[in-house]
């Protein structure tokens, strides 16, 4: 074992570091670091810059135009990206749909959609959850009925992240009520401009608009938009869930957030001394750092095993649980660090170009919002309860 980067890995790190230094627009990284609202254009701009550099799909297999990055490379990129204050890549097209299309899509679908994902022509969102089907996704009801060369879709998806920006949605739909619920689900691609698709905003508890309801009324979708075979959609959806192991732990974001918290803890004074010197605060922070240091290695071990072809195991679920709880504990300690200034919240101050004097320290305004917003991470993508069910089922075999 050798915990040092090889020469190649060192070179890779400086290459990536240089990229963020020269190509990440200043305004954009300031917005991210100051937790301002990102516009659709901001996200598109960054997407285009990554694509131009060949980094957007560097994790794709070489045969599909990727660079086939290994676990260490992906970790380095993730950590550098967060440290530089780069926006998170919207994952639905390039990280979620693409692997499914590569594994199960037709040649035509691959040739049509993959380039459009890269060049930003299509913005995808994920239509899995329904009001009655969250954790029990297989109970989903939205129907797709074949009508000659079309499917006719009726029903409702919900919690659709950034659906307000999207022009395409990949959906799990019910094509059969026979047999087990999992056996009647299909995976279909829908143009959101089709008549009968309606997007309605859901406002979150901290007042942000990031999720939506998407309603479907007699929406006619060409049959060629079906991915793979009819009634096999569950297999594809599951493939997607276990295939996308990287990034689930959120190591880079956690590291950057701890740096930010340390900065806050130096600036905040308690009894005339930096809060960072307070024993109780320092104990809480140090515990988080211990956990994170171990998790970073767990993450790389899991990703490397995956790259070497190990079948997906319970480790993915471990990373999801540990990663989200850890991230939430950083949010929690950050709000504590602010003292009374965790309370003020001026929504307009989230807009870039707001130039009134901040209430309290300039970093304070978004931090409680972030704390509440990040409660979502242990709910979505398979809740932490569901992840623990998976871990215990796989490991205990009872």
């Amino acid at each position: 074992m050798d915990l040092n980067y090889t020469v190649d890995e060192q070179d890779f790190q400086s290459e990536v570091h240089g990229f963020f230094k020269t190509k990440l627009p200043n305004d954009l990284s300031r917005k991210v670091k100051e937790k301002k609202r990102l516009s659709k254009e901001d996200m598109e701009t960054w997407h285009a810059i990554l694509n131009e550099a060949g980094y957007l799909n560097a994790h794709w297999p070489v045969e599909f135009g990727g660079k086939g990055w290994n676990a260490i490379q992906r970790d380095i990129f993730d950590v550098e990206s967060s440290a530089a204050g780069a926006p998170r890549v919207v994952p639905f097209g390039v990280n979620m749909l693409s692997p499914v299309l590569m594994a199960f899509g037709s040649k035509e679908q691959q040739q049509h959609y993959l380039p459009r994902i890269l060049d930003g022509t299509d913005w995808w969102c994920q239509g899995y959850s329904e009001p009655g089907s969250g954790s029990d996704l297989a109970s989903l009801k939205m129907s797709a009925v074949r009508d000659s060369d079309h499917y006719v879709l009726n029903g409702q998806k919900t919690w659709t992240t950034l659906g307000q920006h999207a022009n395409m949605i990949f959906c799990l739909v019910r094509t059969s009520k026979e047999g087990k619920p999992q056996e009647g689900i299909s995976f279909i691609l829908v143009d959101m401009d089709t008549p009968g698709v309606e997007v309605r905003p859901i406002i979150m508890l901290e007042g942000t608009h990031e999720v939506n309801e998407v309603w479907f009324t007699d929406v006619r979708v060409p049959a060629e938009n079906l991915v793979g075979e009819e009634n096999k959609g569950w297999t594809y959806a599951k493939y997607l869930l276990v295939h996308e192991r990287s990034g689930i732990a959120g190591v880079g974001d956690a590291l950057a957030s701890i740096e930010h918290l340390k900065h806050i803890a130096q600036d905040q004074k308690k009894d005339g001394k930096p809060l960072a010197d307070d024993p109780m605060f320092a104990a809480r922070l140090s515990e988080i750092e211990i956990d994170l240091s171990a998790m970073r290695t767990t993450n790389m071990r899991v990703m490397q095993q995956a790259a070497e072809g190990a079948p997906p195991g319970p480790e993915v679920s471990m990373l999801k649980v540990k990663g989200t709880v850890l991230r939430q504990s950083i949010n929690d300690l950050t709000r504590r660090a602010l003292g009374p200034y965790a309370m003020p919240f001026v929504s307009e101050a989230l807009d870039f170009g707001y130039n009134e004097k901040p209430i309290g320290p300039d970093y304070a305004n978004p931090m409680s919002m972030d704390y509440f917003n990040h409660r979502k991470t242990s709910i979505y993508g398979g809740s932490n309860e569901i992840q623990r069910n998976i871990i215990s089922k796989m490991m205990m075999g009872l």
Binding site: M280, R336, M343, F345, S368, R375
Partner: protein
């Protein structure tokens, strides 16, 4: 020992409870919170008429309550309704005025009738939770005083008619002596108030004092002896927000319980999953622990045991309150992440109460200090 409330106090609790249940639904609450003032003056008037402001003050002060349990039962109901009307600010500042001169006591009477609004302008931008941290200065001049300094996160500070302001007449930094309190009309020259919302739907203000001239009779109590008044006000305020947290916790747990019984996944109510049952059991146990700590603190509010019990209560509210607030969201799933559903608003209030009068760690530190001094 007797853990029952007196008949009168039970009536007070029932009355406040009925008002919240019948006239303060969550939609009304949001409407009041989102109005220009951040609360409804009409509601405030109604509540004053019901005697709910008077219940917070003793008969000597013109009220008809003022005991720890009076404050506790009323604020518990306010917590159940997430009531945004400025009770806390008026409790704090009003408590200070009970030590005031005759004209200040007259003002307190008009607070109790709902005509006058006060705020407690004590905390400062760099003071965190330390009661003796006062940098604002009060210099004697022309038979009165001139005030200069900055006050931060003054609860309901943007709608108050008068401010109770702490300022140093001597000493520096965190000295315990030398802090004086003044009653200052909010509209005099040199008082600059910048109001803003808090993330849980309440209002606060940053207040800058620039050469604010007040007369000698603006002083509340004796010069330089303000800290013990501030500590009394803070103890009562801490009791109040802790009771509020308990009320919010009760509703949040009830909502969760109801949801666990009705929300079905995998063909069964999610409450059937033991992974959730045990956590629910813990939450309900913690709720009872908080209720007991509240009883301990309310019962010792006017005794030597006050500070230990108040800090024990606030530590528990911070520690267990956080757990409950987070679990309430988690056990609901996505629905509790929305503005439209009430549970998230209760969680926000419970968490933000950790930032008033000292958080979990602050009060643990106080408990350790008191233990060492004993």
């Amino acid at each position: 020992m007797d853990f029952n409330h007196t008949e009168e106090r039970q009536m007070l609790a029932d009355m406040a409870g009925r008002f919240v249940r019948e006239q303060y639904e969550i939609e009304t609450r949001h409407k009041n919170a989102e109005s220009d003032d951040g609360f409804s003056r009409e509601t405030w008037g109604q509540l004053a008429e019901l005697g709910l402001i008077g219940a917070l003050f003793s008969e000597d002060a013109g009220g008809f309550g003022g005991a720890g349990f009076d404050v506790a039962v009323v604020f518990e109901q306010f917590g159940r309704g997430l009531v945004v009307e400025p009770f806390l600010a008026n409790l704090l500042a009003g408590t200070a005025l009970t030590d005031g001169n005759e004209s200040q006591k007259t003002i307190l009477e008009s607070v109790i009738t709902g005509e006058t609004l006060l705020a407690f302008a004590h905390g400062e931008p760099s003071g965190r939770y330390y009661a003796s941290h006062v940098e604002t200065s009060a210099k004697a001049a022309d038979g009165g005083y001139v005030l200069n300094g900055n006050k931060g996160v003054v609860i309901s500070g943007d709608t108050a008619d008068h401010l109770v302001v702490s300022a140093r007449t001597s000493g520096a930094g965190d000295d315990k002596d030398g802090i004086s309190l003044f009653l200052v009309p909010a509209n005099v020259d040199g008082v600059h108030v910048r109001g803003y919302p808090t993330i849980d739907g309440y209002r606060a203000a940053e207040i800058a004092l620039k050469d604010v001239k007040v007369s000698a009779d603006a002083l509340i109590g004796a010069e330089g002896r303000g800290l013990s008044i501030i500590e009394t006000a803070h103890a009562r305020g801490t009791l109040a927000v802790s009771a509020e947290a308990l009320g919010a916790i009760e509703v949040a747990i009830d909502l969760t319980l109801e949801y666990l019984k009705t929300r079905k996944q995998f063909g069964v109510p999610i409450g059937k999953f033991q992974a959730l049952q045990h956590r629910m059991a813990d939450m309900m146990t913690e709720r009872e622990q908080i209720r007991s700590a509240l009883i301990n603190a309310a019962g010792s509010l006017d005794s030597d045991e006050r500070d230990w019990n108040i800090s024990a209560l606030k530590n528990l509210v911070g520690r267990s309150g956080r757990k409950i607030a987070e679990e309430v969201i988690q056990m609901h799933g996505g629905i509790a992440m929305t503005w439209e559903y009430a549970a998230g608003h209760y969680s926000k209030r419970i968490i933000m109460i950790d930032h008033m009068f000292g958080d979990e760690d602050h009060h643990l530190e106080q408990i350790i200090k008191i233990g060492k001094a004993a």
